[in-house]
Symmetry: D2
Subunit: 306 residues, 4 copies
């Protein structure tokens, strides 16, 4: 289970008695506050606070585009229009704050999204818990031979167990020695130094605050099939949260981002020839082999997010 | 009066019935929602939404600095510590959204603060109202001779009235011709072109969303005595709002930012010599005349914000 | 002519004798330095400095993707790969600085791109020149009836001349009164106040510095057919500069951005049905009328940038 | 020695024959290009490229502040003025790109500076080298009791050697197992998974590009006495590079930032009382104990950077 009872108690202690507010409020999100969603073996993501809703996007768009937009009587239609034409500023008008517990190597990918605010648990100030990520057996996968940055099938069970044994042994020994070095009755090493002995699968946690536009940018990249599994599972939970928070925006996001595909100038030419009845093969398409495969994967089969 | 009755009606129409929320809520801010504060002759600033409070700053700091910070039993003390040591990330955990009506030349200064989100009324889509800023008589001031970017005393009343006459005449004529060019029964010029005929004191409006850290950065620069009066009056209203929203943060902000002064290395040397009893004059201080004046203004007289 | 002889002399005075450098150098860009490209009636854009080249993009990508990428023997292929997969960070490794002279209403659109650095001529410190934008006769266009933010055909010549007369008369009168109010022998009004009397077609100028990734984002939006003509002409000149600076990147940008089109999930479904031989009309497509038109414009006709 | 001969060869291979340029060129920086400065036991920092010089700061300031600033005949004086009054935008007009090799736990602090561009060596794509940071004996320090985030004196030699033994043993074992898990003839684990077994003192490397304003912000925080030693040593090298690059800016930076101190409103009151001859003690100062100590450390003793 991802959360210790101590962690649950800490989160519960923050819950305050409901109060009246005139701010936009989303009942489905109120349900989610203080509810951590478990991710991986010890991680979680939970909503700490939110600001705005679908209506706040529409309200901002109507300031920008003025009285005229009142003609667009239906809010969902306006949101779809904004998303399709990449008018992103109205989506910046909503904000969300998450509490996330995640392995350090995932945090290192996550932090590359600069348009967000972060407060991370500091191992200079505090001692990290003895918690580290060990993949589930079916996630212990071989290096992909076709994709330099990816993984392919799961290893056979014996090899996978060996991997897990090594990961567990090393993380444990490193943590044991971390404690030994820190021990104020023993070596008493400074925390800021001792932490360097921890492995990259050690869990950390942070508050991460981002606006709706940048959140969707993050989700589009990290929920993508090419993202590493260990960050993708966070993104997938957060898409569920997105749907609860701003359902019209989430629907438009799926239609125009997650389920969409961009055809290059060369691909468009091929498409026009095919629609005109021409039989086009890769060799006379002007596309590289890889582009050809990517385009046809999109045209032949239903899209994974579609 | 800054707001037309139509504008007030528009704002009132957005007010929703209070709802229950488990999010941090600030009663003093709930009072302010949907209440425009008048600024200049037709401008206003009002809070549209907010996220977090003083407690949210403390909560984020305690994630960063870990369990140890529980010793800092008093929240206000922790906030003062963060402000003094420029630990700015916990202040990024609060967010506020304003609706502002302001002259275009003020908007041009304001927008230079990039770490914020903006949706501005678009004169490509819509027709701007016939509203332009005319300074109050006592603000019609002469060019400063000592400060290239500032103004000095008010002009004498005759000259000031002449200025106001010209400003009014030109803005009115430009707006009249704007309408003439737009008239769909007449020339029917495109809005995106016609707007170029308006003067820079025409009012525009926008939604402006910013985190607490960047808000304070904005306020420190724009509430400063060197800021142009026409933006300073907005900043001053927003400092009042800051006090209602996050009183402990606002107090620390006044103590460590607005009321503070940075002594350069050279000034510190002079200070040490003076405290050691030495009689230091500008000529043997190693400071420029200007630095000397600035330093002594700070040491002799109470600080304007103090 | 866009530049006065005084402006040309100022720019020439900045030219320094060529010096040796071990930094990446692009001969075609060296030619462009200190050469203003005229835009609109008094505007220009010129390159002040640049950092990096196509090779710098490749170099950064090879740090990220490590030794393995050496297999991608051809730099242009790697750049196309980065562009296609929106791996944007290597493009951030190049930087360019422009000097731009542009009307204030264009500057107000331009500045919305926040990921750039700007130093604008300050009308608090200095007196703006008597230069304002007047559209060419064939650009004096009617409001579009189909597109709320656009213009349609040029007005007939009589109406256009009337528009130009009004624009010229008002800008001139406003500038005359600006000078009258500023006159130190007369009213002596502060510059920071007098400027509010200027019209939005007054020219300003600035230094604008941006990285290659954000430059392309700017260009994709502002060279687009939906952008206002008066900013689009700047973007078009800057695309020419892009081609001189980073030819491989510019080619990939045209292939995968300017000439590309994103099909939504719904459009992809229609496409699959059509390629399977089905006769799909708008009514049974699941697309809105507007989406239907946009998609078919792309499929039937060659792309404007293609 | 920090660099292996292989690494030196790689860097040398990038060196190109000097070419002529009309861009601002700093001879002292040309000397530094392709010269890695060794930091820690295996790290380095080197300049890859730079754009602009002190003159570019002045040039940008003169655009902003207009012709009037020509009166400020001396460039260094203008730069000091900009620095003192925190007019930061002209400093954004210069840019620098570093290649840095650094331990992962240092990289995690460094990356918190968001206003920069980064391309990091990716352990999803490539295999990290067997290089990890081991502190020098005199840096193996005890936890500070007064400062929760700091270290105090070095441990006694026996304890320090024990620490180094543990750090070395664990990093080595983790790396051995990393290789074992990766071995394509053996387990063949995906690189993106295997890396999680590495310790936080493993070296990584990146290209880091930043403008001069944000570089100084980074240096002010990271060269500070409160910064962790392992990042401070990088900052200190970079201050040397700053001096070579923009000597006038670097001098102003030392005078108005590194060597400066900000007195709070309360401290200013105490200062005024003391200068008026009053004998003020902590108990009647209105300052907290900590503030009192900080202020007096600054007033009694010469500043560490002074």
């Amino acid at each position: 289970m991802a959360l210790t009872s101590e962690q649950r108690a800490e989160i519960d202690a923050q819950r305050t008695a409901p109060q009246l507010t005139s701010r936009p409020t989303v009942p489905a999100m109120e349900e989610l506050l203080y509810t951590p969603f478990e991710v991986l073996d010890h991680g979680f993501v939970r909503v700490v606070d939110y600001m705005g809703d679908d209506g706040a996007v529409v309200q901002a768009a109507r300031v920008s585009y003025g009285r005229g937009t009142r003609k667009v009587s239906e809010d969902a239609g306006l949101i779809r229009y904004l998303m399709r034409h990449r008018h992103s500023t109205p989506f910046e008008m909503c904000e969300i704050k998450f509490h996330v517990k995640l392995p350090v190597f995932v945090a290192r990918q996550w932090i590359r999204h600069r348009m967000a605010s972060v407060n991370e648990y500091s191992a200079r100030y505090s001692i990290l818990d003895r918690e580290f990520y060990l993949p589930a057996l079916d996630q212990v996968s071989a290096q992909s031979s076709s994709n330099r940055q990816g993984r392919s099938d799961a290893l056979d069970e014996d090899a996978a167990r060996q991997v897990l044994h090594l990961l567990h042994r090393d993380a444990t020994q490193c943590y044991d020695d971390y404690e030994t070095m820190l021990d104020p009755e023993g070596m008493g090493l400074a925390r800021e130094l001792a932490r360097m002995n921890l492995t990259l699968n050690t869990y950390t946690q942070w508050y991460w605050k981002v606006d709706l536009h940048n959140l969707m940018h993050f989700l589009a990249l990290r929920a993508d099939a090419h993202a590493q599994y260990e960050i993708r599972v966070y993104a997938e939970k957060m898409i569920e949260i997105l749907k609860a928070w701003v359902p019209a925006t989430a629907a438009a996001f799926e239609e125009y981002r997650l389920g969409a595909f961009t055809f290059s100038a060369g691909m468009l030419k091929v498409l026009r020839r095919r629609l005109a009845g021409e039989d086009v093969g890769q060799e006379n398409s002007g596309l590289t082999k890889r582009e050809w495969i990517e385009m046809n994967a999109m045209l032949d089969a239903p899209h994974p997010h579609g």
